[in-house]
């Protein structure tokens, strides 16, 4: 199991959380400590064990293709931190998804 030091700035970038110098240092250390704890899992022999994504197994939960009511537009847009007319407004987008 990997045990290298976390590049906390890179992870924070992926998670889109700005970190202060102080936070980067503190979180970096805490995450390193936590990883040291979770590394005990490497003791478990899991080669032949299936992964569990959901503990109560079920399959094919689907809805029939019927349209229903939507939210009222004013309710929707009243939540917007910034709206413009009928739209949500955001600052300049840089880069492609």
């Amino acid at each position: 199991m990997a045990s290298e030091k976390i590049d906390v700035r890179y992870v924070a970038k992926l998670a889109r959380i700005a970190l202060s110098e102080d936070e980067a240092e503190r979180f970096g250390k805490q995450l390193g400590d936590l990883l040291a704890h979770v590394n005990v899992l490497s003791e478990l022999e899991t080669a032949s064990v299936p992964a569990t994504a959901q503990v109560v197994e079920s399959r094919n939960v689907e809805r029939s293709d019927e349209a229903g009511p939507c939210l009222d537009r004013e309710t929707v847009l009243s939540m917007a931190p910034q709206r413009e007319g009928s739209f949500f407004r955001v600052p300049k987008i840089i880069g492609q998804p």
Binding site: G68, P69, V90
Partner: protein, 486 residues
């Protein structure tokens, strides 16, 4: 060898197609194009805190049918995964997609080129995911993202079911890429799984393009081309990119692996590298959704819903003697092609019915506004008419008249012919009697013919046909007339 022919292009297409359903992929909001912004949204597709997705059964059936149409394998087990990245038009900031266990795997798309050449492109996979909302970029940049200072977002499209078709790099030219896309489009439309309206953005595609020395089997460095909004722009964009790559290599430089945007106005691709963020999508199974199991019974049921598909039809129609353009037109007119196939199934000679379907019936449909398949002329009735012509019971002129009357609802052509005695006559005595009458009334014409004006024969034949009320066998009239005059 020209510079161009020294290189071979290798092209793969990733294509996103919105599925035709009544509701969105994971919620009950209407799946409809357009509408007032932000009116087709609910807690689920707006990603409000606490909302949860539930998969649309019809979208899953559409996917399996699309896979079956291309001969893909449908794995017994499939699941949804989250693709994590932040983007303002993606409400949850992850997209529900399928990573390592898509609904369909493999298969191939048979397509054809303008000259009728049949080709095939293998599919890697088709997987199911959800669409994003739409952004309008404002404050400079002419509506483009680059140069804009803010964006406005409409989430109506967010959560619309989307299938992503990924092809193998089997395409070798821009024409092949377009042929492949057209085949995808006509198959999806025929299956009823999508409307495939590019102008409404319901089909969007990116192309991976690389070139290599002709004959080489190694792959060159590829670029990904985006922003192609029509089949025409796909054609132009790929051609332009191939030319650009050739020029780069010819100048001794190397191709940079990157994403390039197609600029429709300038007719070139340009690099979209901004200070691109590191991408790490952190796929993992979506714990809000349960896996999909597809059993043999469902596959059998869905197989029965797959109609005759375009490539099969195209090849058959070509065999009937249609030229590629005619065959393509008929293939793309599904109701008419179904009608035509029904005529053939009813025993009609394919070539003969093809002429009726492509010319006379299509003209009538245009004139009256009634589609052929909804007209009073049933495939069985047309087959009857074709048989009457084939057996020379009626000549082509009478056949056209009969068709008009059948269109008007007068019923079986055989019955009309019998009731009105319209059957073509090959009774020599009767025809000779009519010839004598016509020659008697047109002495000058007969004299002229004998004097060498042989082209007057057509006029005389017409007169005899008229006298027979169109029933005389024209070939026989012609033959007998000539005998009489010589």
């Amino acid at each position: 060898m020209t510079v161009q022919t020294r290189y071979e292009a290798v092209i793969g297409i990733e294509c996103h197609v919105e599925l035709k359903t009544r509701s969105k992929m994971f919620c009950a909001c209407a799946n409809e194009f357009g509408g007032e912004p932000n009116t087709k949204v609910c807690p689920v597709c707006l990603a409000l805190p606490g909302a949860l997705p539930v998969a649309n059964a019809e979208a899953i059936r559409h996917m399996i049918r699309a896979g079956l149409a291309f001969g893909a394998s449908i794995p017994a087990f499939s699941k949804f995964d989250r693709k994590n990245y932040f983007y303002p038009d993606m409400p949850k900031d992850y997209q529900i997609s399928q990573y390592d266990m898509p609904l369909t795997l493999g298969g191939s798309v048979r397509y054809w080129l303008e000259d009728g050449t049949l080709k095939e492109c293998k599919l890697t996979r088709i997987h199911l995911e959800e669409d994003t909302g739409k952004s309008i970029h404002g404050g400079g940049g002419d509506g483009r993202i680059a140069g804009s200072s803010f964006s406005l977002i409409d989430f109506n499209r967010a959560g619309v079911p989307l299938m992503e078709c990924v092809s193998e790099p089997d395409l070798r030219s821009a024409q092949e890429a377009v042929g492949y896309l057209e085949a995808l489009k006509r198959t999806f439309v025929q299956l009823g799984v999508s409307d495939v309206k590019m102008e409404e953005g319901s089909l969007r595609c990116d192309a991976n393009v690389s070139i290599r020395p002709a004959g080489s089997t190694e792959l060159g460095t590829k670029t990904e081309i985006k922003n192609m909004n029509s089949f025409r722009s796909v054609l132009r964009a790929i051609e332009s990119e191939i030319e650009r790559q050739i020029a780069v290599l010819e100048s001794g430089s190397r191709i940079v692996q990157e994403t390039r945007g197609w600029d429709e106005g300038q007719g070139v691709t340009h690099s979209m590298r901004s200070k691109e963020e590191a991408h790490d999508y952190r796929y993992f199974p979506d714990p809000d959704l349960v896996p999909i199991e597809v059993d043999a019974a469902l596959i059998d049921e869905l197989k029965k819903t797959i109609p005759v598909l375009p490539p099969e039809r195209f090849a058959r129609y070509r065999g009937y003697g249609m030229d590629p353009k005619q065959a393509t037109q008929l293939v793309d007119n599904f109701p008419l092609a179904d009608y035509f196939d029904a005529c053939v199934a009813a025993g009609a000679n394919p070539q003969a019915s093809m002429n009726f379907v492509l010319s006379d019936l299509s003209r009538l449909a245009n004139e009256t506004g009634t589609p052929v398949n909804e007209s009073a002329v049933t495939p069985e009735a047309l087959a009857e008419l074709v048989a009457l012509v084939e057996s020379k019971t009626v000549n082509s002129k009478i056949a056209k008249e009969l068709l008009e009357r059948m269109w008007a609802g007068e019923g079986s052509p055989k019955a009309i012919v019998e009731q009105e005695g319209l059957a073509q006559t090959s009774d020599t005595g009767e025809i000779e009697r009519l010839i004598d009458e016509v020659l008697a009334a047109n002495e000058k014409a007969a004299t002229d013919y004998k004097a060498g004006k042989t082209n007057i024969l057509g006029f005389l034949t017409g007169q005899v046909m008229k006298a027979s009320r169109g029933k005389a066998n024209p070939a026989l009239v012609n033959e007998l007339l000539r005998k009489k005059l010589e």
